[in-house]
């Protein structure tokens, strides 16, 4: 690991750097996806230059065949490679669900451990600019599927370190990016190889009054809300970074201290990741909580195109939820 040299990178640049490092380290790393080869180098340019540098054999632009992009990645993984499949918008994982769920996730188990499927499916949560079919966040489906790991980073540094770990992990990983963050949150990133272990949350900010557990793009919404509340309350912010494995320990430590917690995410609240996390915390810390663990997720509606119809957690909504949570009187046990 050489963390010495660093550079300011966008998330897209960090993705590109991680893929570059992985392709350079191990010739068993290959990539497939729509438009990923040069000259275009991917619709978000995350793979720019890689087909030129490593050859179109290893970095393959495919037809529009999500099912077979993932299916061929599963097959190549079974054939000894470490494929990274790119699916433009997460919504199009709908096309590839059979290969993800019935094959990538289950093959190791169904083979009695004989078969390993080390692959990464990269996919992007889109934006309402494209409408409801290009903006759904589906991490809860994959969390609900034993056999997969689920990663959802929030910044360039984590993106690169987690993607490298994902590529060299022996289990199938769903690696979720967010279109809104692609170029908007640059940060310093080592140019070489480094890894962030899957399953370790990051405490982004320590606080005493309330714990916010979040991940992905909502990390920035939460940090902005916490910043704007700095005179009112002391907020601890946890960036989960990976959803499976889930770093419950870090969450419990924090909530033990703050006694109040909220989970914030961009996917639909109902039956979403927040329900699981809230339940796990409640299971462990029931007697130590002042109020029930709160949630703020997407509304129970598709994503609307018009900006006025906001389904996702906004800074304002997070601020309001935090105020309500902190001001709420501690709930007494009724008998």
């Amino acid at each position: 690991m050489s963390e010495e040299q660093t550079e300011k990178m966008t998330i897209v640049a960090a993705l590109n750097s991680a893929l570059d490092v992985a392709l350079g380290l191990d010739e068993r790393v290959i990539m497939m996806g729509e438009d990923i080869a040069d000259p275009i180098g991917g619709v978000m340019k995350a793979t720019k230059g890689l087909s030129t540098k490593y050859g179109e054999d290893r970095v393959r632009a495919t037809p529009i065949v999500e099912q077979t992009i993932v299916g061929s990645a599963v097959g190549a993984a079974m054939g000894g490679y470490r494929p990274v499949a790119e699916i433009m918008f997460m919504d199009f994982l709908c096309q590839a669900m059979d290969q993800i769920i019935n094959h990538a996730a289950k093959s190791r188990f169904m083979s009695g451990g004989h078969t390993t499927v080390p692959l990464v499916v990269r996919a992007m949560v889109g934006s309402s600019n494209f409408g409801a079919q290009h903006s759904q966040a589906l991490e809860a489906w994959f969390m609900h599927t034993p056999g997969l790991k689920v990663v959802m980073p929030s910044n360039p540094y984590d993106t690169k370190g987690l993607l490298l770990s994902s590529i060299f992990d022996d289990d199938p990983v769903i690696f979720i990016e967010n279109m809104a963050m692609s170029y908007s949150v640059p940060g310093m990133v080592p140019t070489g190889d480094y890894r962030i272990p899957l399953g370790e949350a990051a405490v982004l900010q320590e606080g005493e009054d309330v714990t916010v557990i979040t991940y992905g793009a909502e990390v920035h919404t939460v940090m902005a809300a916490a910043e704007s509340l700095v005179d009112e309350m002391s907020v601890e912010v946890i960036d989960l970074r990976t959803l499976v494995p889930l770093d419950l320990t870090t969450c419990l430590e924090s909530v033990t201290k703050t006694r109040r917690a909220i989970v914030v995410h961009g996917s639909t609240q109902f039956c979403g990741p927040g329900a699981e996390i809230a339940t796990l915390i409640t299971d462990e810390l029931f007697g130590a909580l002042d109020v029930p663990v709160a949630r703020l997720g997407g509304t129970y509606t598709p994503i609307a195109f018009a900006k006025e119809l906001e389904s996702l957690p906004t800074e304002d909504k997070v601020v309001a939820a935090l105020r309500e949570l902190v001001e709420r009187p501690s709930v007494a046990r009724q008998r």
Binding site: A61, P63, V65, Q67, F130, G131, Q133, F305, E308, L309
Partner: protein, 338 residues
């Protein structure tokens, strides 16, 4: 219509009125595209845009070949298709601005136009997904015993995906009144047809399902109209489905503001020579079908319509935040909307 802009005397052509309408559809699509792109460039419009440039002749031909009771499913690249159904540009553009005056009250956006009265049943942003739905609409038409046909439009790239294959087989098997209109602009996003298909003759591929299947020059609106007209008549009269591959070329980047530097210069130049609107204009005028004065009138009308459409859209109110939870369910009782 020949390369030089002339049509064979022996071949049928639409009425003068229809020809004029075809010409105005082409111009209107182009005007809509260009103004929307300009608005987006200025940051006044936040929407994904997929220009029709290159496909105008196919859209115009659809406008005349389809009847009022026929139904259509289109894709994200839908502006020309929607205009061909007679949908006012103003409601299309209002949808692009996310306003109540849009075809979908601003909830759908550019990819999701709907106008059931005018037979635009849905437009989809997911490549290939319109084809199975068209099979269902065809089934409905067949069960109704109606003499209506279903058109589904999609790009060349969309033929790769599994759903297209399933739909071709089922439409052929059930002899459904569906016309599969492949708007082959030679590119699937940034990847050329030759890079994603070992056999780039898509009509040949689809013929193997046991379905009528042919290629037509999509830059030639008359040839395209005749082919579509035949296929639609066949569908309406119980003759079953057809695949019509309209050969054109994408004259812009994939989306409103996207890079097109990779296009082979000579290919694009050759395609621009075939640009359907100017060619149709030349032919209409030289053949004496529509005189120069009337053509100028149409052009002015198109400009005025486009002006009015953008003004309407910009003035149309946005939806109220509370409307978010409307239209999710027909009956929403007991639904956890938050």
């Amino acid at each position: 219509m020949q390369e030089n802009g002339e049509t064979q005397a022996t071949e049928a052509i639409p009425s003068r009125e229809e020809l004029e309408w075809m010409y105005s559809i082409m111009l209107l699509a182009k005007a809509g595209d260009e103004r929307a792109a300009a608005e987006a460039r200025e940051g006044r419009l936040q929407a994904a845009l997929y220009p029709v440039r290159g496909l105008e002749g196919v859209c115009a031909a659809l406008g005349v070949a389809m009847q009022a009771n026929d139904q259509m499913i289109s894709s994200y690249r839908n502006l020309g298709d929607a205009l061909s159904r007679g949908i006012p540009l103003r409601t299309i553009i209002a949808e692009a601005y996310g306003r109540l005056g849009g075809t979908s009250k601003g909830k759908g956006g550019t990819m999701h136009l709907t106008d059931n009265e005018r037979g635009l049943v849905t437009t989809t942003g997911v490549v290939g997904s319109g084809l199975p739905m068209a099979v269902g609409l065809g089934l409905a038409a067949q069960l109704d015993g109606a003499d209506r046909a279903i058109v589904v439009t999609f790009g060349d790239g969309s033929t790769s995906i599994g759903s297209a294959h399933e739909a071709f087989n089922l439409a052929a098997l059930w002899n459904l009144p569906v016309v599969f209109v492949c708007q082959n602009n030679q590119w699937g996003e940034h990847t050329p047809l030759s890079s994603y298909a070992a056999n780039p003759n898509l009509a040949e591929r689809v013929a193997s399902y046991g379905m009528a299947s042919e290629q037509v020059d999509g830059f030639d609106p008359m040839a395209t109209w005749r082919t579509l007209d035949r296929a639609l008549a066949k569908a309406r009269s119980g003759g079953g489905p057809s695949f019509v591959e309209c050969l054109t070329y994408r004259l812009t980047g994939h989306s409103g503001l996207s890079d097109y530097s990779y296009v082979p210069e000579a290919e694009l130049a050759a395609a621009l020579e075939r640009d359907p609107a100017p060619n149709m204009r030349r032919w209409l005028e030289s053949s004496g079908l529509v005189d120069a004065g009337r053509l100028a009138e149409i052009e002015a009308e198109v400009e005025a319509t486009a002006d009015e459409a953008f003004a309407f859209a910009q003035e149309s109110p946005p939806p109220h935040p509370d409307e978010l939870t409307d239209d999710v369910y027909a009956s929403g009782e007991g639904i956890p909307f938050r």
